[in-house]
């Protein structure tokens, strides 16, 4: 997840202070990725260093610089996006996300290593994983059943995404089982009577 671009997206709508960024982000993404406020400030500092955001001048009678520092400490400093920030954001929205190399997938790694290992029962691993993944899919579906499509659109869209990913995992497990069965059958044909 890109916290940088997420903050830019919110600031592009309107100038916001640190805590507001945190709560708007969490509301828009159905609370799926909690942000801690420290992470927000660290990211804002980097965005400022790169010229993508700037503190909004305070409407305080005290000097601008002093107000900026004070208010940042109390979380009331309001930030706004710069022209370069808008450009960076627009590039982010325009470019499709392509994960190459694929993100690390612990299940895939576990199964591939189990297939390579002599002493591990892959079928058993796959069976237990399918049960667990199906339960996860049932939980997600239960949330979908309870969600209000009018008031909870971000939550429903997120659930749809998670359901489809979980479904893909189930299909992959099914595919693994099928390929392993075919491989066993082919070995059997080559060496009749041998179990492995």
């Amino acid at each position: 997840m890109s916290v940088r671009h997420s903050l830019l997206a919110i600031l592009a709508d309107q100038p916001t202070h640190g805590y507001g960024l945190k709560s708007t982000f969490e509301r828009s993404t159905a609370g799926a990725w909690p942000l801690n406020v420290g992470q927000v400030y660290t990211t804002l500092a980097r965005l400022q260093r790169d010229g993508l955001v700037e503190p909004e001048p305070a409407a305080s009678p005290v000097g601008d610089a002093a107000a900026t520092v004070d208010d940042r400490d109390t979380g009331r400093q309001t930030w706004r996006i710069t022209a370069s920030g808008r450009e960076a954001l627009s590039t982010w929205f325009d470019e499709p996300i392509v994960a190459d190399p694929p993100p690390r997938d612990e299940l895939a790694i576990k199964v591939l290593l189990a297939v390579a290992a002599e002493h591990v029962d892959v079928t058993d691993i796959l069976h237990r994983q399918r049960t667990a993944t199906m339960e996860r899919l049932q939980q997600l579906t239960h949330h979908k059943h309870k969600a209000d499509p009018d008031r909870e659109l971000p939550w429903l869209l997120l659930l749809d995404a998670l359901v489809l990913k979980t479904q893909a995992e189930l299909e992959w497990i099914e595919r693994c089982e099928q390929r392993l069965r075919e491989q066993r059958a082919a070995r059997e044909r080559r060496q009749p009577g041998s179990e492995s």
Binding site: T131, M134, L137, L164, E171
Partner: protein, 233 residues
């Protein structure tokens, strides 16, 4: 689990083919409680449809005992089996088998009329069943005037009409797009939450996930089920 509406005890179903005995299902033990929503998954030829036919009293086991709503299928005559099917069980097939010459309400009332109910009360009960699936406004339309999703809702209403409280469905969402298919699953979920029982065969895990329990069949046998964790609220 509540009292089982379907019980399989050491059930096998075999067929004779070219002088050989082919096992389509079993041995399996299974209980499905009243009010449960159960999905059956498994590759082609794993015995899903055989299991559904036995649960629906469309077939009898070669070995073992199948009990549906307290009736041991082995002990029933053909006539009694037919009566059990009409009064207790509704079926939804991929081809929904709605009669094109009858209106929607006539289609839903048909099982009741076949069972000897008079026209007016049968229509009244059918209208209630249509209302339960959100199709009350379509009663006097003909099936061909409805979309696939609407026809499906009518088929579900027919399956649950009157005293029928067990719905069996074989790939009921096969011909529907994913959003419409999901709506049908939501409807079945609501019906089961209201005390009806549904058993569906599906290849679509997203649809199976609407069920309370998902059973996997492989080579005629059920994969061991996990211990229930918490369960549905």
């Amino acid at each position: 689990m509540s009292a089982p509406i379907i019980r399989f005890e050491n059930v096998s179903r075999t067929y004779e083919h070219a002088g050989q005995t082919v096992r389509a299902l079993g041995p399996i033990d299974l209980e499905i409680g009243a009010g449960e929503f159960v999905a059956i998954m498994g590759p082609s030829g794993s015995g899903k449809s055989t299991l559904l036919s036995l649960a629906g009293a469309l077939d009898v086991p070669t070995v073992g005992r199948v009990t549906v709503d307290g009736n041991d299928l082995q002990g029933l005559s053909r006539k009694q089996l037919a009566q059990l099917r009409r009064q207790t069980i509704g079926y939804v097939f991929q081809e929904l088998n709605l009669l094109p010459g009858l209106t929607v309400v006539e289609n839903v009332a048909l099982p009741l009329e076949l069972d000897g109910e008079r026209l007016a009360p049968a229509r009244k009960v059918a209208s209630e069943a249509l209302e339960a699936v959100g199709m009350a406004g379509f009663a006097s339309r003909f099936p061909d005037d409805l979309s696939g999703g609407e026809q499906q809702r009518v088929a579900i209403a027919r399956a649950f009409v009157g005293p029928r409280r067990l719905l069996l469905a074989d790939e009921p969402t096969g011909a529907l797009d994913s959003v419409t298919g999901e709506r049908a699953m939501r409807l079945l979920r609501d019906q089961c939450d209201a005390g009806r029982t549904a058993v569906i065969v599906t290849h679509d895990s997203a649809h199976a996930a609407w069920a309370d329990r998902v059973l996997f069949l492989r080579d005629g046998e059920l994969a061991p089920e996990p211990e229930p964790v918490g369960g549905r609220p």
